[in-house]
Symmetry: C2
Subunit: 249 residues, 2 copies
């Protein structure tokens, strides 16, 4: 089989920096983890918080720390650094080859969808943000790593899309119709959901938006790992250097 | 414009673990870095070394440390940890939006190719591995971040492909013909080069092989960042858990 992960991410309209941070890290005993955090508010301040949280989590995961322990550590760290005054959401989505499981770690009120073939389940139990109290616990869901599973995780910018016009995104129905009709790639799922969310915000996202889709596909034609990253850059973002240079630094 | 990065990676034939480690990390002041290390020998021991090196580098980059300083720090760290007895190659490829440049940091005898439109340049100056001496310096190349640039970085498993049958991969010619004929995506370039290298090793890679291709594309239709990861898993790699479980951890 093949573990396929896709991410689509955009900023709040007219802000140059997203408060959402997402990183993917290889697990030291096999497999891969996606870590997603949304810092309180948006822009530079939120980015500082969410990247601090994600950095702490990926460095712990890379050392072999289990997901739940890494989430607790990140919460205590943020609580200590900011005296409990700043919160962040945290999601960790892991394909753990050592245990043969998918592990979903959640400190976020935003729900997570899990589809097995065409049955869709929603994880929406109580689960708070990290950083605001001692002893914050993540909610953890673990299942066998089997082909046919699709998991969709997103930040609240997606959940609240359309709220200004009294509408909201019905992710469950959208996901169901996509899975019924075609065999979509995770990138197609992520792109469709993000485009719908942006449309509900009239083309001007009201908040940072990030979506992660993980699929376990039955085929694995060749033992080749692949990764792609696409990062759009606005021309005004890029300062100029005078000439190409090579030097021993 | 859009910064596009693609990676293709496979293990030495009949080994379950690659000695090459590659991670992508967001730069705190804007942009993205790819960090690639190949640990001495192959298998578990090499993996421990290369992942130690990459972890050190990505944690420094995430704190805002410049690429050259991060490479020197990783060298000193490996030298101290292993008493100078173990070496690793290191490449850092960064699209730095703060300076508006592409930065190539190289501690590796394997060359790097830079194509601007259809002119291909090869960086093959002297540059040694890290970890075996004090004061090891990386070779650093910096150029304006402009559309039309393609950079290809790879590990020695690609460079030495075919050596058992007295052949070798002519990456420059292959790259030239791909860029002349079509407008290939970075993933197509990486896949083509990796397939050619595997073919030269008669379908059984003689060493771990990793390729990174970065392209700066002129179009950037929408301000959406995207990432995909594809991780093939052999069935025998996956242990079984009995049932799905949800619990407060």
């Amino acid at each position: 089989m093949e573990i396929q992960i896709a991410v689509a991410k955009t900023n709040k309209y007219a802000t140059s920096e997203s408060g959402d941070t997402l990183e993917v890290v290889e697990r030291p005993n096999g497999g891969v983890s996606v870590v997603l955090s949304d810092g309180q508010t948006s822009g530079r301040g939120a980015k500082t918080i969410s990247s601090m949280v994600v950095r702490k989590v990926i460095s712990l995961l890379a050392e072999g720390v289990r997901d739940g322990a890494a989430a607790r550590a990140a919460s205590d760290f943020l609580f200590t650094e900011r005296n409990g005054k700043v919160s962040a959401t945290l999601n960790i989505l892991s394909a753990d080859l050592q245990t043969g499981t998918l592990v979903i770690t959640r400190n976020n009120t935003t729900p997570i969808f899990i589809a097995r073939d065409e049955t869709i389940e929603c994880l929406s139990g109580e689960s708070g943000s990290i950083g605001t109290a001692r002893n914050i616990r993540p909610s953890i869901t673990e299942m066998n790593l089997e082909s046919g599973i699709t998991i969709v995780v997103y930040t609240d910018g997606i959940a609240h899309a359309g709220s200004r016009i009294g509408q909201s995104l019905d992710i469950c129905t959208l996901l169901e119709s996509m899975l019924e009709e075609q065999d979509p790639t995770p990138q197609e799922i992520a792109d469709t959901l993000l485009h719908e969310a942006i449309r509900l915000d009239s083309g001007r996202p009201n908040d940072d938006m990030s979506i992660v889709v993980l699929r376990v596909s039955p085929q694995s034609p060749e033992q080749i790992r692949r990764m792609t990253v696409r990062l759009p850059v606005a021309d005004q973002q890029v300062p100029r250097l005078n000439s190409s240079q090579e030097n021993e630094a």
